[in-house]
């Protein structure tokens, strides 16, 4: 069991963060669409040390039946941290934190999904945080939105998400775990960039009004960058198919 120590300084003399990033820099992001066989849509995100897998099922028949909504699809969402995802083993029973995050992630995705196209059905979103390093709810939203698109579910816009916050007196984006723990504030934001619609915002810590506005603007800008990565990841999987006029030579149905 390794015991982490509080870093002495979160910002060094040249203004760089503990992992060498500048305040406005994101961690390296890797996105992959269509990584699971059985799910209708899936995506994987790696952001720094975060590794998160999302599977989407649906629209499908809803059980239990009494949950049905006559005029739209029910959206269900579960965010779960794997027991091995953290420094200390996480008890597999759902924590209060996971229950709250499942709710806010669902509420972050609902405005994007055109659920009225799928009445009396359910769309299930399962988010498995396999390794956590700060900002997992945002990374989960980024991947979930790709998995929904991969499942062919109609959406108004992709949902992007990124946190901003204050660390060592500086307003920065995309906090890693240490910055989240020992920094002054954390502000996760989810945004539909092309609609300028904020679908998730939470904050804890201490920010002046000016700092808050700066953090919100920086988080929004980061979301716009991430949206480009998301579009690229989708294109990477689907562009080939869309551009091909002839059916595949082997006749094998590709997913």
């Amino acid at each position: 069991m390794s015991k982490e120590k509080a870093p002495e300084r979160l910002i060094d003399d040249s203004g760089l963060r503990i992992d060498g990033r500048r305040p406005e820099d994101l961690r390296p992001i890797k996105l992959e669409v269509g990584v699971l066989e059985n799910a209708d849509g899936s995506a994987f995100i790696q952001q720094g040390k975060n590794k998160i897998l999302v599977g989407v099922f649906g629209p499908r028949e809803i059980h239990p039946k009494h949950m049905v909504l006559p005029d739209r699809a029910v959206i269900r969402c579960r965010y779960r941290m794997a027991p091995f995802s953290t420094e200390e083993r996480k008890n597999p029973a759902p924590s209060r934190r996971e229950i709250e995050i499942s709710k806010v992630i669902r509420e972050a995705l609902e405005p994007a999904v055109m659920s009225e196209y799928y009445p009396r059905t359910v769309i299930d979103i399962f988010i498995e945080a396999l390794q956590c390093d700060g900002g997992t709810r945002c990374a989960g939203i980024v991947a979930a939105s790709l998995a929904l698109a991969d499942a062919g579910i109609s959406m108004k816009e992709l949902v992007s998400a990124c946190s901003a916050g204050k660390v060592g007196g500086q307003v920065v984006v995309d906090l890693c775990d240490l910055e989240d723990k020992y920094g002054e504030a954390d502000l996760p934001v989810a945004l539909m960039p092309n609609l300028s619609a904020v679908t998730l915002i939470q904050m804890d810590g201490k920010l002046s009004r000016e700092e808050f506005e700066k953090a919100l603007d920086m988080a929004s800008e980061a979301c716009r960058q991430i949206r480009n990565f998301q579009a690229e990841a989708l294109r990477h999987k689907y562009q080939g198919m869309v551009d091909t006029e002839e059916p595949p030579a082997t006749g094998e149905a590709s997913k």
Partner: protein, 271 residues
Amino acid sequence: MSATPKTSGMAKLERDAVLELASKNRRLDGRALTDYRKIKIETGIIEKANGSAQVTLGKTKVMVGVKVQMGSPFPDTPNEGVQTVNVELTPLAYPTFETGPPGENAIELARIVDRNLRESKAIDVTKLCITPGNKVFVVFVDINVLDHDGNLIDASTYAALAALMTGKFPEYELKDGEVIFKDSFQPLPINNHPVPVTFAKVGKILVADPCLKEEEAMSARLTVGIDKDDFVCAMQKGGIGELDSNEIKAAVETAINKSRELRGIIMEASK
């Protein structure tokens, strides 16, 4: 697993009326957009609790009891007392509140109250340590919702704050490592007074302190917690709708102004 809730039993006519009014910048009960309903705060109502308060906000009624007991610190904060917040949406408060373990709404509510208190460092937990790494005071903040007419977040936090500010915990002495409690009590160490201001987005506008009918017609909800020095200390968006960033910035400004007035009311009641 979190699922889209069933739409409430409120008649479409009523919802339309709320939205129709909102399109003219008006509200059901005639309040201005940033007006709160009448607030009544009573403290010291439960003798067996270490601190207690009941907040009546319009027709919303919330009771908070604070209990202080000896317990163990968390391993990563051996020199600090522990704060824990729990919410019970009691079935007597609303027809659809059910018995059983807390659901996501109760958990979210408890965590928002907790966030306001914790992030503003309202309770000075460093003063609640008895023997480092071994014995500390645990402050249990238990919120009982008694009547639900909207804006449970604000009512609950105000009640929690009033209960804590009037709360007391036992004086003690250490004899050979044994904790001996005296018969006398001292006030809980309260350092900050976070005041959340909650808005509902109804149609195209934000209204402060939404009543239940406004909550049922709203697309999104935003809570902004402001501490005693006008810093933002907590925030939470709820609901299946969206907000834009200018709206959020305007809400923060309104919340800063509004929180001063509300804090005055809470402080006055908690003397």
